[in-house]
């Protein structure tokens, strides 16, 4: 077994990217993700990479666009208010079929909000990470080890489908330390014959572009992309099922919240209520199939989030009226305690 080391979630995000061959990073400080940038600034210059601190999140994400369009693995990271600025380049990358990785270590909003953990950017990540018809792959780790695994997967799948990918974490995961085993990823970077890095007089010039002034042409481009999205939905849904076999109450939670939920679920079982947890690992594509599998078996679903209720809409879409869907959440940076989630489960179990 490889050695376990203690690492902060933010450091693991950075180290995983380096292990995956991403040695170009364009950053801008913002709490609670700044350790990602700090880690990169320390490591990258020593391994022939580039850490560049941009003048703004806008610039950082457009540097990412340029680097990724030139065919390399690159990423940027930020926290909620900064992600809003990065959406400009994310939409362009989606529209130009440029794969890249964006990290969001969520904090409370709206506006400047707060700096404590939050999951209030779920809608943004899964519905509107910029203007136009598009999706990005969204992965939601719940442990520091899983951060590493999902960074590898995110780079790989982004390149396979030529779409941007996001790791949607939160301040708690970013700031906490846990043991991790650092292992090289199984897959290597994909070939990128489309990249703009000089045609070397051996091919026609490559154009990375999202502009199509002919409506039908743009429609064709978007429709082609949505065919890829359908393939992603069919193949890339991921979820963990915890104590779901005989569960009567399915508590749905992702990221840091799922850990609190699991503690509450365990406690509920000790008190005689058959609760289980479904933990979406991909938020887009949403693991609809897992919800569908249980919608006729359980008495009800309960979505628990650090928000006023965002993912609950995807649960409802998947349940499609087959069972009641309840919600419990805290927001603004307040982390729900296992006790409050337990109370809600017990109330539903009555």
């Amino acid at each position: 077994m490889s050695k376990r080391v203690l690492m902060k979630g933010n450091e693991a995000l950075a180290e995983a990217a380096i292990q995956a061959g991403c040695i170009h990073f364009f950053g801008y400080p913002i709490t609670p993700q700044t350790e990602v940038a700090a880690y990169m600034s320390k490591r990258l210059p020593k391994i022939g990479g580039v850490y560049l601190q941009a003048e703004s999140e806008l610039a950082a994400s457009n540097m990412l666009l340029g680097a990724a369009a030139s065919g390399i693995r690159a990423m940027t990271s930020s926290s909620s208010p900064g992600i809003s600025l990065k959406t400009e380049a994310i939409s362009y990358m989606a529209g130009s079929d440029v794969p890249a990785l964006i990290i969001n270590v969520q904090r409370g909003g709206p506006g400047l909000g707060g700096i404590q953990p939050s999951q209030a950017d779920y809608f943004q990540a899964t519905r509107a990470l910029g203007h136009g018809d598009f999706q990005v792959l969204v992965f939601a780790p719940s442990t520091v080890q899983e951060i590493m695994d999902l960074v590898y997967l995110a780079f790989d799948r982004a390149e396979e489908y030529r779409v941007p990918a996001m790791i949607l974490a939160d301040g708690m995961l970013g700031q906490m330390m846990e043991p991790v085993v650092i292992e090289k990823p199984q897959t290597s970077a994909h070939e990128k014959p489309w990249a703009a890095n000089g045609h070397k007089n051996v091919r026609k010039h490559n154009i990375i572009n999202s502009l199509y002034l002919q409506a039908e042409e743009l429609e064709n481009r978007v429709v082609e992309r949505y065919r890829r999205y359908e393939a992603i939905k069919a193949k890339e849904q991921r979820a963990e099922e915890y104590l779901m076999d005989d569960a009567e109450i399915a508590v749905v939670a992702y990221g840091a919240t799922s850990r609190i939920v699991k503690a509450a679920v365990k406690e509920a079982r000790e008190r005689g209520v058959k609760a289980g947890c479904i933990r979406p690992i991909t938020l887009w594509p949403y693991p609809t199939d897992t919800i569908v599998k249980y919608r006729d078996k359980v008495k009800c679903f309960l979505s628990v989030e650090m928000s006023m209720g965002q993912m609950v809409e995807d649960v409802r879409l998947a349940v499609n009226g087959a069972a009641p869907v309840e919600f419990y959440g805290r927001t603004g940076g307040v982390i729900p305690e296992p006790g409050e989630v337990l109370d809600k489960i017990m109330e539903l179990g009555r």
Partner: protein
């Protein structure tokens, strides 16, 4: 056994560092561990606290809300968290800085003048390690070898000369 440890005090007292050493010791003992700091303006002098879990099982919530170990290094933190400690939990209080005692009797409370002892032994700034030493004596949260290794790995490479002082402070705590 799951240790759910809350450490709280002022920024600058080495609260987070102490948590890292404890987590590092748990790691060395091949336990599951987590360390979660409070973060934000605290690091510039306000109150600071961190949650550390050590367990044989995977850690659920890394946020400790009902600690079974509580180390208090200032009065506001003592007041804030003392009621949340689980019955039979261990409470260690730096009595140099906190002149209050727990009104509840269902916890194992220890009052040690950690800050004064640190000054007296020319270990200024290492009251945190004295607290840690006392915890080591009162609970078996980690093995002896683990703690020394954890101190070594937590002290930055540029400050390796401080390892000895840290270990000395832990020894003082253990002797109390």
């Amino acid at each position: 056994m799951e240790y759910k440890i809350k450490i709280a005090g002022f920024g600058g007292q080495g609260i987070l560092f102490m948590g890292k050493v404890i987590a590092g010791a748990g790691l060395a003992d091949e336990k599951e561990v987590s360390w979660l700091p409070s973060y934000g303006p605290e690091m510039r002098g306000g109150t600071a606290n961190c949650s550390v879990c050590i367990s044989d099982e995977p850690i659920g919530s890394p946020l400790v809300v009902k600690p079974n170990v509580f180390l208090a290094m200032n009065r506001p933190s003592f007041e804030k968290f003392i009621d949340s400690v689980e019955p039979d939990g261990i409470v260690i209080v730096d009595s140099s800085l906190i002149d209050e005692k727990a009104s509840r009797t269902d916890v194992r409370a220890f009052y040690i003048p950690a800050t004064e002892l640190a000054e007296k032994n020319e270990l200024s700034g290492l009251a945190n390690m004295i607290m840690l030493g006392k915890l080591l004596k009162e609970s078996a949260f980690c093995s002896k070898q683990a703690i020394a290794g954890a101190v070594e790995s937590c002290v930055p490479k540029s400050k390796q000369h401080l390892i000895e002082y840290n270990l000395k402070a832990i020894g003082i705590g253990e002797s109390l």
